[in-house]
């Protein structure tokens, strides 16, 4: 239990850091006043309510959702390299978002909220079917390469669309790496609900996913239906990844880093792991975002690039240790 408290303290610490660190330094009293007596003419209040708090909330939602998505993916595929970014699910959601907003010519909250989920669902179905992820007994190379292929395909299509439409490089940059800067234009409340729904569903089916990891035959004997559990896991991945992309764009490698750390804290207990994953995911993403603001101040590094720079070495560290031929 004390480990959970430590994680909670860590999360609280980065939340405070994220609220206090920024281009404009704020008076401590301003925080309280902004919440109780909001004055739209006071620049300190506006900074807090219109920039820092939405950004923090977006980080909490996206970080927690991606932590849960990564943990569920790794548990179902028994592959330590599974991550919504590496497997192309992020890319699928962002691709649907980009294509949809381009075709419809509008990018309001409702559209953003509706588009990412079909994209994430199709991409995860494709990558799991082609990568053999649902069989749970394949080596990590195949699933990872299937994700790399899906990512490359979508990247090529996005490049083509951006060039054809003569859109700015910013669209492309959004697609490559997510960020928390556009939080105010995102459907935060709705996506918080969806991410919570996905997390709740994950907690519900967690014991069955654990039974599945004993092997298909044994889990059948225990009364689990593998197909149903896997479909349930795909629903979780779709809901959480879709919500994360809708608020923050594609953020890679977070779902890769979080589950092993969560296992260290929670032990081999999937429900505990999921709770810790949500907290750790939010902690790491908010920390990465704050660090990205500090390193090049007054300019900033996008949170998605920060997580990729941290996550690349983590991927390599894990890749060295898995036995690629055997199921890991």
């Amino acid at each position: 239990m004390s480990k959970f408290l430590w994680i909670a303290c860590l999360l609280l610490l980065v939340v405070v850091g994220s609220l206090t660190i920024g281009v404009r330094s704020l008076d401590p009293a301003a925080y309280w006043q902004a919440l109780t007596a909001y004055d739209p003419r006071d620049p300190a209040h506006v900074t807090l309510m219109a920039i820092r708090i939405p950004r923090l909330v977006a980080g909490l939602i996206a970080g927690a959702a991606l932590g849960v998505a990564g943990t569920v993916m790794q548990a179902v595929t028994r592959n330590p390299l599974a991550d919504p970014g590496i497997l192309g699910v992020n890319a699928g959601a962002a691709f649907a978002l980009l294509v949809g907003t381009t075709l419809l010519g509008r990018a309001d909250e409702a559209i953003v909220a509706l588009l990412t989920f079909p994209g994430a669902a199709i991409a995860s179905a494709i990558v799991f079917a082609l990568g053999g992820g649902l069989r749970g007994d394949v080596g990590p190379v195949r699933l990872t390469l299937a994700g790399a292929a899906l990512n490359a395909l979508l990247l090529s299509l996005v490049t083509a669309i951006v060039l054809v439409r003569q859109d700015s490089l910013d669209v492309f940059r959004f697609w490559v790496a997510g960020s928390l800067t556009q939080a105010t234009t995102r459907p935060l409340a709705e996506m918080a609900g969806v991410a919570a729904l996905g997390t709740g569903f994950a907690l519900l089916i967690a014991p069955r996913i654990e039974a599945l990891s004993l092997g298909t035959a044994l889990s059948r004997g225990l009364g689990t239906r593998p197909g149903r559990v896997q479909a349930g896991a795909l629903v979780v991945v779709t809901l959480t990844t879709g919500a994360a992309v809708a608020v923050a764009g594609p953020i890679a490698f977070l779902g890769l880093m979080v589950p092993p750390l969560a296992r260290l804290v929670a032990g081999h207990n999937l429900r505990g792991e999921l709770v810790v994953s949500a907290m750790l995911g939010a902690t790491i993403l908010i920390f990465a975002d704050t660090l990205g603001r500090l390193l090049l101040a007054p300019s900033e590094i996008r949170a998605g690039i920060m997580t990729a720079l941290i996550g690349g070495p983590v991927f390599l560290w894990i890749a060295r240790r898995v036995r690629p031929g055997a199921s890991a």
Binding site: L81, L130, T144, A152, L153, L157, I305, A308, F315, R320
Partner: protein, 325 residues
């Protein structure tokens, strides 16, 4: 004999089609007049736009394809290609870095340094004391190095001013637009030397393919031969990236495609057919990218990505059925 002439014939047809099709369509008569007499409107288009473009595509495609054959044979795995293992993204990162920091070093040197650095990094990270590195570990580690170098490239691009970022973006996609005769001289000059070096090592690669113990028994210095072949393969890939950018999947697709068309069995013949297939793939991808949408010139890298990713997925399911993955 007929089968041996299929690949050259396809290549010739692709060259002619690439020269004829474009924003200003050319007739065969114009092409002939331009080629033979060096006069008329055909000659102008050939000399300034399509000639360098087509020759650069052939050169870059051939070196990339040959590089793919070397790695696929050396690691005895059809997935072991320099573009899958992160070498080409390393070369791409070096080029973006050179643009970002305003270096005036020639691009081929920069690309070669980046590709070699990525390859050394992959080898060092995959190496473990007392174990022979399995090829699949190399591929996984290579994928990781590719992810990391791509993230660094994206990071560097965000630091650049807008116009330079757009230039870096074009580089990273892989494009054959606006190539001139210096590009042609570069890729052909370096390419001929490296192709000769690769062919000279074909015999050793043929023995290595039988297995390391057998090769050692036959008097091959295994580690030295592997390093020399890997270095040649990386330099070949870097030579292609230096003029065409890190076009995805050309190296991955070309070797198996070349063998499928020519039916070559010996390593030297497979090298040549892989080079020919690479040239064919890049030429056709560039042609398709130019001609697919009227009035819009897509970079060739977009097309090789759209073609190559489904190939990689298909290849994965094939390897899966054979129980290799």
């Amino acid at each position: 004999m007929i089968r041996r002439s299929v690949l050259p014939a396809l290549l010739l047809a692709a060259v002619v089609a690439s020269l004829l099709i474009g924003q200003v369509p050319m007739s065969l008569a114009m092409l002939w007049q331009g080629l033979v007499t060096g006069e008329g409107p055909g000659a102008l288009i050939l000399d300034t736009i399509r000639g360098p473009r087509v020759l650069t595509a052939i050169g870059a495609g051939a070196v990339l394809g040959l590089s793919g054959v070397i790695f696929q044979t050396l690691f005895r795995n059809p997935l072991a290609a320099p573009d899958v293992m992160g070498f080409t993204s390393g070369a791409g990162l070096a080029i973006v870095g050179a643009i970002a920091f305003g270096l005036t070093v020639p691009m081929p040197l920069v690309a070669a340094a980046g590709g070699l650095a990525a390859a050394v990094l992959v080898a060092a990270l995959a190496w473990r004391r007392g174990h022979r590195t399995p090829p699949l570990t190399l591929i996984l580690v290579g994928l990781g190095v590719g992810f990391f170098t791509s993230a660094l490239s994206t990071f560097l691009m965000t630091l650049l001013p807008y116009s330079e970022a757009a230039e870096a973006q074009r580089w990273l996609t892989g494009s054959l637009a606006a190539r001139d005769w210096t590009h042609v001289a570069q890729v052909w000059g370096i390419g001929v030397v490296l192709v000769a070096a690769a062919l000279a090592q074909a015999g050793r690669l043929e023995v290595l393919e039988l297995g390391h113990d057998l090769a050692a028994g036959l008097g091959i210095r295994v580690e030295r031969a592997r390093w020399a072949l890997s270095a040649t393969g990386v330099l070949l890939a870097a030579a292609g990236v230096a003029v065409a950018g890190p076009v995805p999947f050309v190296a991955l697709m070309s070797g198996p495609l070349g063998v499928r068309v020519t039916g070559a069995t010996g390593v030297a013949a497979r090298m040549l057919s892989g080079a020919g297939a690479g040239a064919l793939v890049l030429l056709l991808a560039d042609l398709a990218a130019r001609a697919a949408l009227p009035g819009i010139q897509l970079p060739a890298g977009v097309m090789t990505g759209i073609l190559g990713a489904p190939y990689l997925l298909w290849r994965l399911s094939r390897e899966m059925e054979r129980g290799k993955l």
